[in-house]
């Protein structure tokens, strides 16, 4: 039979999973510091050779992890009131709001396109090339255009940012919705036909429930993509309150305070992780374990 053990992850399984996360983080941290130590001991070459290490190990290229951690709790500017972490979290929240709006809009559009394509081969054949092409245009080219258009329409700037976010988010959802709606076996479709079910009944009772396992991985991709879209979109929009401008600012003062750039990278990653985590939580509530697509399994299957 199927994986009955996967039905209810026992507490010990969850603890083991938590341990593996902690172990990997520790390993990465130790690796980072060990690499630094090697570089500083040998003067920037592999031990016993004259081959240069690929990345410099001085505190500008690779600050000590504790320096990055400490910088989060120091005022960001000399004489400033707020510590860096608060500033970054505030910027993160600002960016996340645009990303959320973009995520919801993008996923709705993606889902709608999936529905349209599954109903109409003509629409799929006509529109799919543009849907695919839209993702080959780099977002840094699209972003200023959307900002200019938004400006002409007197929309608030965050709307343009959300639109850029949606532009990146809709694609995986459209593709996986279509794939999911087409996933029922031929016999299941014949079964609905034998009941003389209407197209809407077939959609609601068969196709959409069958599509859910395909939808959630797409929503996770869309969640990270919408955060990236929002960060990138803030730059041409000239929004100063988000992560985009914060990262750009710390990048320009990289030589004097590299740990602040690293800290903002960490916080940006956390914002994306929290977003994906929320989607994963919803998936856990909606889908029983037997119906979740394991990402490693999905990668292995054709």
């Amino acid at each position: 039979m199927h994986k009955i053990c996967g039905m209810n992850p026992t507490p010990s399984r969850q603890i083991r999973r938590l341990w593996s996360i902690v172990a990997i983080l520790t390993l990465l941290a130790v690796g980072w510091e060990a690499y630094k130590w090697i570089g500083e001991t040998t003067g920037g070459v592999w031990p016993g050779t004259t081959t240069r290490l690929p990345i410099r190990t001085n505190s500008r290229s690779m600050p000590h992890l504790w320096d990055i951690a400490v910088s989060l709790f120091r005022p960001a500017r000399r004489g400033g009131e707020d510590i860096l972490l608060v500033i970054l979290l505030r910027a993160g929240w600002f960016t996340l709001r645009s990303a959320l709006v973009g995520f919801v809009a993008g996923c709705s559009i993606g889902f709608g396109l999936g529905l349209l394509f599954v109903r109409s081969r003509l629409a799929e054949r006509g529109l799919m090339p543009y849907v695919v092409a839209s993702q080959t245009v780099p977002v840094i080219a699209i972003a200023p255009i959307l900002v200019v258009w938004g400006g002409r329409l007197d929309l608030p700037k965050w709307v343009s940012v959300a639109a850029i976010s949606a532009y990146l988010a809709f694609f995986p959802v459209a593709i996986n919705t279509l794939r999911g709606l087409r996933s029922p076996a031929a016999t299941a479709t014949e079964l609905m036909r034998s009941y003389a079910a209407s197209p809407n009944q077939t959609l609601l009772k068969l196709q959409i429930p069958a599509a859910l396992p395909f939808l959630f991985p797409a929503l996770k991709v869309a969640a990270t993509a919408s955060v990236i879209g929002a960060i990138v979109g803030e730059l041409p929009a000239g929004l100063a309150d988000g992560l985009g401008r914060a990262i750009l600012g710390f990048a320009s003062s990289f030589s004097s305070a590299p740990e602040k750039l690293f800290a903002s990278v960490v916080v940006s990653a956390l914002v994306g992780l929290v977003f994906v985590g929320v989607v994963a939580l919803v998936e856990r509530l909606v889908l029983p374990p037997t119906r979740r697509i394991d990402p490693t399994e999905a990668a292995a299957s054709p």
């Binding site: 039979m1 016999t187 034998s194 003389a196 029983p288 119906r291």
Partner: protein, 257 residues
Amino acid sequence: MTDAVVLNDVSMVFNQGGDNQVHALSEIDLTIEPGEFISLIGPSGCGKSTLLRLIGDLISSTDGRVEVNGKPAHLARTDRDYGMVFQSATLLEWRSVLANVTLPLEIMGRSSVERQERGREMLDLVQLSGFEDHYPWQLSGGMQQRVAIARALAFAPSLLLMDEPFGALDEMTRERMQTELLNIWEATDTTVIFVTHSIPEAVFLSTRVVVMSPRPGRIVDVIDIDLAQPRTLDTREEQRFYELLTVVRESLRRADR
């Protein structure tokens, strides 16, 4: 009495006029009376599943007349005159056993009370009482197929179309399911059309066995199975059972030539 199924000079050609044209069925004539248990048997690719799908209006014939309960096949389908069972149980994995059985009733807009009542009744019929809240993946292959039969019978169709329903089951389960199916058939007055590869299965179950030739599929023989009803475990030991196996086997051999 209206005939359950009338097939009149039915032909089926897939991809007509194309390079990959397949002549699946040719000149099929067959009349099935209400209450019969008919098996369609023949080599792989002889079009017996295609014939079943034509009767169910899941596909349309290229030529000829297909009538179910005195109506064209598509009207019989929209009147929900038949239930369908496939080789794979085709249960919806997100629905409990009971919710799978009541799916057709839900689509037909029956009340929640009626659905519950009828669903439990059907599960009782296929001896799965107590499994209402289980999910398909928790059941064995044989149990899943019983749920599929309960689902097909939930709206009391007069005709049951079965496409190799026991083909994926082991021999022991298969024989048990055959006996159960006959019990259900007797209890419900349903006409059954049953596609199979297995000669013993066809002979044990049927009132008539329809033998088909390889592509393009034709009916080469219709063999009356005059074994006493009800069929029991002893039926398979009877001399007449073996004689009929031989009759069907020789007919299949002739058809293959």
